[in-house]
C-alpha cells in the first residue's frame, strides 16, 4: 500500500500542496432480507477506491476514483490540486489544521466470528425461523427479518507522516411485524425499528439479539395495537425507552454539537445549530442529572474505531456535564478555530467522499434509577417505546417523534396500550425536564446505521448508549 499512497503524497507536494492525505478503502456489504416466508433478497457488494485530499493555496480540494492504479492516482491527485486552486479563488482565510503527531498504527474491530464467514444458509435459517413466528398472528400481513454486515478495510496516509491501516466490521439484524385491519396499519419491530440493532462486533452480536425469543411478543403487540385506543393530545409525563432515547440523543444533541454545523458550513442543506460557541461552558442544555459523552472507544459502538479519517486517535469527549453544555464533535480544522486539538470525529462513508464531522458514539450516561422504581414513582404519564418517525428543525430545537407503541402509566403502574403516540418539545426545555434516568443495568448501546449528512450525501453509522429516562410536562399526541 505504501507504494500507492506515496505516489499521491509525493505528487501533491510537488504540485504545491501544503498538506495532503490519501485514503484507500475497500468496503464489502452483505444484506439478507426475508418476507412472509420467502427470501426477499440476498445481495453482496464490494467497492474499492481512493480519495486524495489536499490543501493548496490555503484551500481544500478533493478528488476520488475507483481505479486504483498508478496513472489514475496521478490524475486524481492533479485534479485535487486543480480543484483546491479553484477553491482558493473564493476563500476568506487559509485553512489551518490543529496539530497532530504522525502515527503508524493498525486497528481491527475485536470480534469472535466474522459474519462474512458464516454460511448464507445458517443466516437465512435464523431469519426465516424468527419471521415465521411473527406470522403466527393472522392479522400480521407482512412479516420481515433482515440482517446486514459491513466490512471496511482502509489505509490512511498523510504528508505529515501518518500511515494507519484499519479493519472495521459492523453487523446487525432485526424483525418487524406489520398488522393490518380495517384500513389501520400498525407496526412492531425488535430489537429496534429500521432493520434492528447494529454493533461493531462479529456474528456473535447477531446471535445475542434473541430474535426468535422475541418474535411472538412483537407480533402480538402489533395486533393488539390495531384495537388499542389512540394516544390523546395532552401535556404529561413521559418515560422513554432506551432505543427511542438513543435517537433523541442523536437528533437533539449529536447533530447540534457538530462543529461544522455550528460554523455554518452545512447551512444550505442539513442546517445549522442552536449550540453556538458563545454557549460553550455556560449554557444549560439539560437538568443537572443529564450527562452526555461522545467517544469512539466504547466496545461495540457503531462509532468505535482506532483512528478517525484524519488520522486522529479515538478518544472520549464530555459534551454535557451536569446539565451544562461543555463540548463539541470536532475536526482538525474546526478545532483549530477554537484553539483546541481535534476530538477525532472526522468520518467519510467511503473512498469517494470527503471526511466530515460525524457523530461517533454520542451517549446519555446512566442515572441511578431502576426502571420499575421510575414507573412506580410516576402518578400519570406514558411509557413510549421504539421509534416510528422523527423530524427536527434545522437548528435542532423543535422536534417531533412518533413511537410504535405507548402504555399509559396510572398510579405508578403500566396500564393500557395506546397507538400512534407522538411527542414534541424544544431541545433545552425537553432535556431540562429530565428528572430520572435509569441505571447502568438498563443502559445499552444502540446502533444507527442510517445517519445522513453532507453533499454529496453520506450515510454514516453512529452509536448511542442510553437507558430509559423520565421527562415532565411534555406535549404528546399532537394529532387530534
Amino acid at each position: 500500500m505504501r507504494d500507492l499512497t506515496s505516489i499521491a503524497l509525493n505528487l501533491a507536494k510537488l504540485k504545491g500542496a501544503s498538506y495532503a492525505d490519501i485514503r484507500i478503502v475497500n468496503q464489502k456489504q452483505e444484506s439478507l432480507e426475508v418476507k412472509n416466508g420467502s427470501p426477499e433478497q440476498i445481495k453482496y457488494s464490494e467497492s474499492l477506491g481512493f480519495g486524495v485530499r489536499v490543501i493548496v493555496d490555503g484551500a481544500w480540494g478533493f478528488a476520488s476514483s475507483s481505479r486504483l492504479e498508478k496513472k489514475e492516482i496521478e490524475r486524481v491527485t492533479q485534479l485535487a490540486v486543480r480543484i483546491a486552486r479553484a477553491s482558493a479563488t473564493a476563500k476568506i482565510a487559509d485553512v489551518v489544521l490543529s496539530p497532530l503527531e504522525p502515527v503508524q498504527a493498525n486497528y481491527k474491530t475485536p470480534l469472535v466470528q466474522d459474519p462474512f464467514e458464516v454460511s448464507i444458509t445458517q443466516k437465512l435459517d435464523l431469519l426465516l425461523k424468527a419471521e415465521a413466528l411473527l406470522r403466527k398472528e393472522q392479522q400480521v400481513k407482512v412479516a420481515r427479518g433482515s440482517m446486514t454486515a459491513w466490512k471496511e478495510e482502509k489505509t490512511f496516509a498523510s504528508t505529515e507522516g501518518s500511515f494507519i491501516q484499519q479493519q472495521i466490521l459492523h453487523c446487525g439484524a432485526g424483525i418487524m411485524a406489520t398488522a393490518v385491519q380495517d384500513g389501520d396499519v400498525q407496526v412492531r419491530s425488535y430489537p429496534n425499528s429500521f432493520r434492528g440493532n447494529f454493533a461493531s462486533n462479529g456474528y456473535e452480536f447477531i446471535e445475542s439479539l434473541q430474535l426468535t425469543e422475541n418474535a411472538e411478543r412483537v407480533a402480538s403487540e402489533a395486533v393488539q395495537l390495531l384495537s388499542a385506543d389512540r394516544c390523546l393530545s395532552e401535556v404529561t409525563t413521559v418515560i422513554i425507552d432506551g432505543s427511542q432515547l438513543a435517537l433523541q440523543v442523536h437528533e437533539s444533541c449529536g447533530h447540534p454539537i457538530e462543529l461544522d454545523r455550528v460554523f455554518g458550513t452545512e447551512a444550505s442543506y442539513a442546517g445549522t445549530s442552536f449550540l453556538t460557541t458563545d454557549k460553550l461552558g455556560n449554557f444549560k442544555y439539560g437538568s443537572p442529572i443529564v450527562n452526555i459523552v461522545a467517544d469512539a472507544i466504547t466496545e461495540g459502538g457503531l462509532g468505535t474505531f482506532g483512528f478517525d479519517d484524519e488520522g486522529v486517535l479515538a478518544q472520549r469527549v464530555q459534551i454535557v456535564k451536569d446539565g451544562i453544555f461543555v463540548g463539541y464533535l470536532t475536526s482538525r480544522e474546526t478545532a483549530a478555530k477554537l484553539g483546541i486539538t481535534s476530538g477525532g470525529a472526522m468520518r467519510a462513508d467511503g473512498w469517494n467522499r470527503i471526511p466530515l464531522i460525524r457523530m461517533i458514539n454520542v451517549s446519555l450516561e446512566p442515572g441511578d434509577w431502576g426502571l420499575e422504581d421510575m414507573i412506580a414513582d410516576t402518578d400519570e404519564g406514558l411509557y413510549l417505546e421504539t421509534n416510528k418517525s422523527w423530524s427536527i428543525d434545522e437548528k435542532r430545537l423543535n422536534f417531533q417523534f412518533g413511537t410504535e407503541i405507548a402504555w399509559e402509566i396510572k398510579g405508578g403502574k403500566r396500564g393500557r396500550m395506546l397507538k400512534n403516540p407522538t411527542y414534541t418539545s424544544i431541545t433545552p426545555q425537553f432535556w431540562g425536564s429530565c428528572d430520572a434516568i435509569a441505571n447502568r443495568n438498563y443502559w445499552k448501546m444502540w446502533g444507527t446505521p442510517n445517519c445522513g449528512k453532507g453533499e454529496p450525501m453520506q450515510v454514516m453509522h453512529t452509536g448511542h448508549g442510553a437507558s430509559p429516562a423520565r421527562f415532565r410536562d411534555i406535549q404528546v399526541g399532537v394529532m387530534k
Binding site: 433478497q41 464490494e46 481544500w60 485535487a80 400481513k141 406489520t178 467522499r353 423530524s391 427536527i392 426545555q429
Partner: protein
C-alpha cells in the same frame, strides 16, 4: 464518459460469463463534481469517478445478486460466481415469475449536454463567486452547492433487454442568510448548466431573506397556506414514497389500498408520472431496461393506478411492468421518479392577494411520515416563511412545524398556479417533479421554533 458501445460490450461479456437460467447486468457510472460554499467562501470542493456492475442471476425461482466496482475480467468473473453462489444457497421465491423480456423500444431522450459534462473546477468557482458577490452586496451570507456531472446507466439481460443512456445534470442550491435568523432560498437543476441563471437565483434568495428580516413568532394552529413549488414537490415525493408503488399496495400499506376509482383528494388535483417528458429530467427506461410508460395516478381527485416493476406485475394476473423498477435487488418496490401535478390558472400574486390571513411557505425541512396509511407527514418550514395579512406579505415568521395528511391538504386546494417548476424528486441524481404552487385552506401547524 464511456461510450455506449463499450458499455454494452462490457455488459454482454458479463452476461456470457453466467451459467444461470436468467441473468441481468446493470451498469452505473458517474463522473460527478460538487462545489460547496458557506459563509461567503468555498469550503468544500470534490470530485468522484466510479463505475459499477450489479449482477442478478436466477436459478429456477432462486435469486442471487452481487455487485462490484472492480471491472477487471477476474473481478467480474468472481462477482458473477458470487451471485450464483448466493442463488444456490437461496430459497425459492414463489412470487418471482421471470426477468422481463425485450418488448418495445424505449423513447429516445435528449439527456446529455457536452458543455455540462465538461464543466471545470474554475467554471464552478466562478459561479460560486458570482453568488457570493450578490450576497455580500446585500450584507448577507450565501451558502449552497453547485454540482455538475454525468451519469451513465445501462441494462442488459439474457432475455434480450438492452438499454443504455447518459445523463448530465447541473444543479445549484442557494440559501441566503441574514444575521437575524431570516433566510431565503433558490434551487434549480437541468441537464444543461447554461439553463441555470446563478445571478437571478442569488437575487431571488437574497430578496426573500431581506423580506423575512426580523421574523416574529406566530401561534400554531390551522391556517390558509400558500406553498411554493418546493413545498408542493416535497408532498408529492412522500406520496410516491408511501403509496404510488405496487408493492405498497400489495402489502396493504399504501393510502391507495382499496381506493382505486374513489375520490381521495379534491377534484382539482391530477397527478401523473411521465419518464419520457422533456419537461422533467427524462428517464426513458427503468433499472430493468423496460420503457417507461406515462401513468395517471390521480385524475380529478380519483385514485387511478400505481406503478409496477416486473416482480410486482408478476404477482397480479394481467398486469405488466409500467417501467418503474429501482435497481435490483430492492425491497422497496417500484416508484415513480418523474411526477407531474396539473397546473391551474392562478399565480402567486393572486394567491396572496386573496388571503385575509395565512402563511406563505417557501419550502419544508426534515419531513417524515407519521401515519403512512393516511399519508400524514410532519416537518418544518424553512428559508422563507411569511405571515400574509389582508392580501399582503406582512413579515417573516419563525419556522413552524406542520403535521398534516397530504391527502387532506390536497382536498382543500383553493388555487393552483399556472406556472410550474421542476423540483427534486425521490432520487438526487435522476428524475424530478414538476409542480405548481398551491393555495391550501386549513393547513395544520402543530408547533413553532423558539428563538435560538
Amino acid at each position: 464518459m464511456i461510450d455506449t458501445g463499450k458499455t454494452l460490450s462490457l455488459l454482454k461479456k458479463t452476461l456470457d460469463l453466467s451459467a444461470a437460467d436468467q441473468t441481468e447486468v446493470l451498469f452505473w457510472a458517474n463522473d460527478l463534481h460538487l462545489t460547496r460554499f458557506a459563509n461567503n467562501y468555498i469550503h468544500q470542493n470534490v470530485s468522484e469517478k466510479n463505475a459499477s456492475l450489479s449482477i442478478r442471476v436466477i436459478l429456477g425461482k432462486k435469486i442471487g445478486s452481487a455487485s462490484t466496482n472492480l471491472l477487471d475480467p477476474t473481478s467480474i468473473q468472481n462477482t458473477v460466481a458470487k451471485a450464483i453462489q448466493i442463488a444456490r444457497n437461496q430459497r425459492d421465491n414463489p412470487h418471482f415469475k421471470s426477468l422481463p423480456s425485450a418488448e418495445g423500444k424505449y423513447a429516445s431522450a435528449n439527456t446529455f449536454d457536452a458543455e455540462t459534462a465538461s464543466f471545470t473546477p474554475d467554471q464552478r468557482a466562478k459561479i460560486a463567486r458570482k453568488v457570493i458577490e450578490v450576497a455580500k452586496k446585500g450584507h448577507l451570507i450565501a451558502s449552497g452547492a453547485l454540482s455538475t456531472g454525468v451519469v451513465q446507466v445501462a441494462v442488459v439481460n439474457s432475455l434480450g433487454i438492452q438499454a443504455c443512456q447518459s445523463f448530465t445534470r447541473g444543479a445549484l442550491r442557494i440559501v441566503s442568510q441574514a444575521s437575524d435568523e431570516a433566510s431565503g432560498y433558490a434551487e434549480s437543476f437541468s441537464a444543461k448548466m447554461r439553463q441555470i441563471d446563478p445571478e437571478e437565483m442569488a437575487h431571488q434568495a437574497a430578496e426573500k431573506c431581506v423580506k423575512g428580516a426580523h421574523p416574529v413568532d406566530i401561534a400554531p394552529g390551522q391556517y390558509t397556506v400558500v406553498l411554493e413549488p418546493y413545498a408542493v414537490g416535497d408532498m408529492l415525493e412522500f406520496l410516491a414514497y408511501l403509496g404510488f408503488g405496487a408493492l405498497a399496495m400489495q402489502e396493504g400499506r399504501s393510502f391507495m389500498c382499496g381506493k382505486l376509482g374513489q375520490k381521495i383528494t379534491g377534484e382539482n388535483i391530477t397527478i401523473w408520472d411521465d419518464g419520457t417528458s422533456p419537461q422533467s429530467m427524462p428517464l426513458p427506461f427503468d433499472f430493468e431496461g423496460i420503457p417507461k410508460q406515462p401513468i395517471t395516478l390521480l385524475e380529478n381527485g380519483i385514485a387511478q393506478a400505481v406503478v409496477y416493476d416486473s416482480y410486482t406485475a408478476g404477482r397480479e394476473e394481467g398486469t405488466v411492468s409500467t417501467g418503474h423498477a429501482l435497481p435490483a435487488p430492492n425491497t422497496f418496490g417500484p416508484v415513480p421518479l418523474n411526477l407531474f401535478m396539473k397546473n391551474g390558472n392562478s399565480g402567486l400574486g393572486e394567491m396572496i392577494e386573496s388571503t385575509e390571513r395565512g402563511i406563505y411557505v417557501t419550502r419544508f425541512h426534515y419531513t417524515n411520515p407519521l401515519e403512512p396509511i393516511k399519508a400524514v407527514i410532519t416537518g418544518m418550514t424553512r428559508d422563507g416563511t411569511f405571515l400574509i395579512e389582508n392580501g399582503q406579505i406582512k413579515n417573516g415568521v419563525r419556522n413552524l412545524r406542520f403535521t398534516q395528511s397530504i391527502l387532506e391538504a390536497l382536498s382543500n386546494v383553493s388555487l393552483i398556479s399556472q406556472d410550474t417548476k421542476l423540483v427534486p424528486g425521490l432520487d438526487d441524481e435522476l428524475g424530478g417533479t414538476v409542480v405548481p404552487a398551491l393555495k391550501i385552506e386549513r393547513f395544520n401547524f402543530t408547533g413553532a421554533t423558539a428563538a435560538a
